[in-house]
Amino acid sequence: MQDDAAAAGSRLYWEDLEVGRVEHFGHYEVTKEEIIEFASTYDPQAMHLDEEAAKHTVAGGLCASGFHTCAMLMRMLCDGYLNASSSLGATGIEEVRWMKPVRPGTVLSVRYTCTEKRASASRPGIGIAKALIEVLDDKGEVVMSWRPVQIFGRRTVEGEAVSAS
């Protein structure tokens, strides 16, 4: 499947990422049911589990687990561009910040800014990209930000390999 997309020339490669360009995409409706379901499995704290009990916590009401927000962002990234790209995963995230509680009924979207690119010194076929990825709520306020280190395949492997040697 990936090779078909590559043959069609429709994939996004490392070369296509442009430092400083801002992309806005994604649409994820946060439901009470999903907040509770995720929290029951992975993060069973009162503020994520029970509307009534959540009122008496620091969150002041039911809100999504921060890791649930990470998972919802990941889904928006897959649908928004990763699955139509040469992405080879990520080595990690330098920093994640949770700025605001994510409440039921909120519609989330993504603001993606590539902040840095470099070719891999050891592997000519891949490139590294850093980004600032922000999750916005329906008011346009940032609820979470990531600074990931991503790996992408390169379109022009041979040319780079030659010039690098």
Partner: protein, 166 residues
């Protein structure tokens, strides 16, 4: 025994627990939150950079937070038995240096440990301090696969008073 900011010790190793990642569970998480082929399809994953079906990095992180929450809840339950006043823990402002060092393959058992490394006073929030912890996950071969520096706001017994008002 107390869980107030001032009383939390640094440096002790916390044995958070372990988890075996099954293929079914890896795929169920990925279908919902990280539908990339190396998390969804055994055959396709073999030809990927990872070389086999492996867990979404967020699945690994979710299991780590589950074990961490359970660890804290066990401690708080013990503390509750003593009848002491309990400090409020949370929320977390975020985390740093999350590293997916090696793939977590289907069938792998990951053992998670944590160690509190630093306590930071907050001028802006005198009733809370931040506690940082370095958490790691190791597979059954003893290889480190996961690392995260977590942080959490913890209630203080006494409000923080900067020494010279600087």
């Amino acid at each position: 025994m107390s869980n107030y900011f001032e009383d939390v010790p640094l440096g002790e190793e916390m044995h958070l627990g372990q988890h075996t990642f099954t293929a079914e569970e890896i795929k169920a998480f990925a279908v919902k939150y990280d539908p990339q082929y190396f998390h969804l399809d055994e055959a396709a994953a073999k030809s990927s950079l990872f070389g086999g079906l492996c867990a979404s990095g967020w699945h690994t992180a979710a299991i780590w937070i589950r074990l961490t929450v359970a660890y804290r809840q066990r401690y708080e339950a013990e503390l509750a038995k003593t009848g002491v006043k309990m400090a409020q823990w949370g929320p977390s402002p975020g985390f740093k240096n999350l590293k997916w060092l090696k793939p977590v393959f289907a069938g792998d058992t990951i053992t998670f440990t944590g160690r509190r490394t630093e306590k930071v006073d907050l001028k802006s929030r005198p009733h809370r301090g931040i506690i940082y912890a370095l958490n790691e996950g190791f597979n059954q071969h003893g290889e480190k696969v996961f690392e995260i520096t977590s942080s959490i706001l913890v209630e203080r017994r006494q409000p923080y008073q900067p020494k010279d008002g600087a």
